[in-house]
Amino acid sequence: MGDVPQAAPHAAEGGGEGADPNPSPSLGGCSDPVSVELSMGGDYYRSCCGDADLDIPEGPKLPCVGDKEPLSSLAAEFQSGSPILQEKIKLLGEQYDALRRTRGDGNCFYRSFMFSYLEHILETQDKAEVDRIMIKIEECKKTLLSLGYIEFTFEDFFSIFIDLLESVLQGHEAPIGPEELLERTRDSQVSDYVVMFFRFVTSGEIQRRSEFFEPFISGLTNSTVAQFCKASVEPMGEESDHVHIIALSDALGVPIRVMYLDRSSCDTGNLSVNHHDFIPSANASEGDAAMTCTPAAEKPYITLLYRPGHYDILYPK
């Protein structure tokens, strides 16, 4: 958290230079890690840069996961804002038609990911995917244990997520519908536990592949990998950056697309909404080599809308 404000001033530039020229997925993270990281900004972005038009909802006012709302509500929100943003929202509207907000308390990425993923499973009933991720979760457990974590410190978080996962899959004891899923994920207890599950997974992945993540992290915070995990991953409320998303996506093998709604623009005048696909590397254990071999075949089914300092869920048409 503490580092975000310092990075924020650079974010405006970083966003323009770094994010724009890197429309190509996956490679961006490797080729220009620092600028990409900075472009992610933080909650303080707004206050630092005076982006009054980026009205990010306050945490306590919003449920952990909000209702699905049309993208037009986003347009309305930026009605008097930057023309660039308005234009981008319009462009977004060509691909996406709905939005679901999450509470902006620093855990928004995880909450967005959680709901989006569970909703995807609920809708697709993709048992194969569930089996696959269960294996991944087991691996994560082992990773944490090998890192010296005591099992009881994370097993509760794991079990809550697994419970949720199983419950959304029909055929199990008490399948739940979309409304119940929403209800459960709005329960701050459950939601927080799942957030912590993701944080553990993320932290474990970063530490397991510390050599790969080390340059990202040193560019971000000037701390060691372990320090970074202790200070910026595991504590609740610590915002997620590029590093976290890469790690989570890799650890669980779930691709994530992030649409960047920022004020960066190209000089050419051809405005486009930058996006970045976080595609889990097939063999993440091999470090950055993994990043280069991108299995582009997989299209992310989780799409998040990023505005500096906040993540929401986007629904494609």
Binding site: I150, F152, D156, M196, R199, F200, E234
Partner: protein, 581 residues
């Protein structure tokens, strides 16, 4: 519900880990009837002082409370066992980043109790004086490490003795701030008291002090004492100062800064181990005075409850010890406070001009502590004996005590001396006491005055003292009316020397009593603070305190030179009490 069950499960695992594979030096503190699974939200652990540190060989009890939202919220961990540490305050609260949530702290849900305890162990090994909760201790740690080490070891020995785990609590510490230092020297001081006190008044006083400290320690254990301490506003406000100062004072003693007593001191320091038994044996004589005091203290206790009538006679035999504890503690608190301030003000380690005062103060503290000690340490038999002897002789004692609570307590103080005066010959001990008291009074007069002033200053500073004001007022009036003359007269030009000259023989025995009486006065004031809530004239308060103290000392002097006068003073004190009521 689910959350609670989950938390329970987790806590079971946490506890299992602590039982099976605890961090180094840590163990769970499971009391006899406490089932491990019965209270998962509040557990106790013991942590051994890390070897090679000032806490080595100490065993500290930690209380760990698990919040509902654990592990999203950090556990609440406090030291039950008093510990002298820059990052641990007088309530046992620990200044440790992982015990607080971000952004202020560094707690994270991935931590657990074992890691917390490990961190606390590290904190013991490496205090962080730059982020100290206890400013004085931090300063000491940074700039006067030697003193810190001595004090920390002293505390460790005193409160964290492995053979006596859990016996001490922070409440006791406050009550016994003064006494703490003295513990080490108990044995020697006691022995010296009887033998050497005659020759060297000063020496005796110091010894007394030491004794008092030890005694106070004992008294600390009683629950009542703890309460008293907490209630005492002054004590609560000044804890940090008092502590730091107090140790400092001890240190100075040890180092022999006071030239006069340095010899004695060094000898005492040599044997830090206190043998209570020896002490008791030596103090039999002392006990008698203590008895009288105990009676007084009893009356105090009742007074707090608000029914002070006739309490003394009835309660004395049985509850005398309890009452004494209260009284003693309160007095201890006050003294402790005053001492630290006066001394502490000058600071960590340098004794300045106030040395004389210090000594006096200490003496007072000692005496007070002595009183308290006696009741506790001594067997019931002694107590019983004491009570009967003292009570009967006093004709008006009952009446006096019937007065309202506050009054009663005061009277007790005054009563003790008064009784003696009235029946000087009845008991040898009593007479001795009187004599001693006189001598000490002379010596300590000025000191007392200074103390009282300081106390008053403190009281002024602290809103809590308001209560004291009320009660003290009457004494002021009475003093002013009856004995305007005496004050000037009584004030001795050279306080310390006089004491020796006065009553060499009797000093040892009686010294405690006199001191006690004085202490009681002080203590009483403290007690009143607790009891009364109200009002406020700080100035009056100050004055009153001073007057009282002065009067005591005066009395003693008067007794020596002018017996009638001393009686008068006692009388007026009583009267004051009556008036008040």
């Amino acid at each position: 519900m689910a959350q609670a069950a989950r938390l329970n499960l987790r806590m079971q695992k946490e506890i299992k880990l602590l039982l099976d594979d605890p961090p180094h030096g840590v163990s769970l503190n499971l009391s006899e009837d406490e089932n491990v699974l019965s209270s998962l939200s509040s557990i106790e652990a013991r942590i051994e002082g890390p070897e090679g540190t000032v806490y080595a060989k100490g065993v500290f009890i930690l209380k760990i409370q698990i919040p509902e939202r654990y592990p999203f919220q950090p556990p609440n961990v406090t030291f039950v066992t008093p510990i002298y540490h820059p990052n641990i305050d007088n309530g046992g609260r620990i200044c440790l980043d992982i015990l607080n949530l971000p952004p202020k702290g560094a707690w994270q849900p991935s931590l657990n109790i074992a890691t917390v305890l490990t961190s606390i162990g590290l904190l013991l090994s490496e205090p962080n004086p730059d982020d100290g909760l206890m400013a004085e201790i931090s300063r000491e740690y940074k700039y006067n490490r030697q003193v810190f080490d001595i004090n920390a070891r002293l505390w460790t020995e005193k409160y964290a003795s492995p053979s006596d785990v859990g016996a001490s609590s922070w409440g006791t510490v406050d009550a016994g701030v003064l006494a703490q230092n003295a513990q080490m020297e108990d044995t020697k001081s006691q022995g010296s008291l009887l033998n050497a006190s005659k020759k060297d008044c000063v020496g005796n006083q110091r010894k007394m002090r030491l004794l008092g400290q030890k005694l106070s320690l004992k008294s600390e254990r009683s629950e009542e004492n703890m309460k008293t301490v907490k209630q005492d506003p002054v004590a609560s406000h000044l804890p940090s100062t008092a502590r730091s100062t107090y140790p400092t004072a001890c240190f100075s003693d040890v180092s022999g800064r006071h030239n006069d007593t340095s010899e004695n001191m060094s000898g005492r320091t040599a044997s830090e181990v206190v043998s209570k038994k020896e002490y008791q044996g030596n103090n039999k004589n002392l006990q008698l005075p203590g008895m009288g005091l105990s009676a007084i203290s009893e009356s105090e206790a009742p007074s707090k409850r608000s029914d002070g009538n006739d309490m003394l006679p009835n309660h004395l035999p049985t509850s005398a010890s309890d009452a004494k504890d209260h009284a003693m503690q309160s007095s201890d608190d006050i003294l402790g406070n005053s001492l630290p301030r006066s001394i502490g003000g000058s600071s960590d380690s340098s004794c300045k001009p106030p040395e004389g005062n210090r000594r006096n103060i200490r003496t007072l503290g000692l005496k007070l502590s002595l009183k308290s000690v006696k009741p506790e340490k001594k067997s019931d038999d002694q107590k019983e004996n004491m009570a009967p002897n003292h009570l009967p002789p006093q004709p008006g004692f009952n009446k006096l005590q019937k007065r309202p609570l506050d009054v009663v307590s005061r009277k007790k103080f005054s009563g003790g001396p008064a009784l003696v005066q009235q029946d000087p010959i009845t008991e040898d001990q009593q007479s001795n006491t009187q004599m001693v008291s006189n001598a000490e009074c002379n010596q300590g007069r000025k000191k007392l005055c200074s103390l009282s002033r300081r106390l008053s200053l403190k009281s002024e500073l602290l809103g809590a003292n308001c209560a004291c004001d009320k009660e003290y007022k009457p004494p002021n009036c009475s003093v002013s009316d009856k004995k305007p003359d005496e004050l000037p007269l009584s004030a001795p030009p050279a306080p310390i020397p006089k004491g020796e000259a006065v009553a060499p023989n009797e000093l040892p025995l009686s010294a405690p009593t006199v001191l006690e009486s004085q202490a009681k006065t002080l203590g009483f004031a403290g007690g009143q603070k607790d009891a009364s809530s109200g009002n406020s004239s700080v100035k009056q308060n100050t004055v009153a305190v001073e007057n009282i103290i002065v009067s005591d000392s005066e009395e003693s002097e008067d007794e020596r030179e002018k017996p009638p006068r001393s009686r008068l003073s006692l009388m007026w004190q009583r009267l004051a009490g009556k008036l008040r009521t």
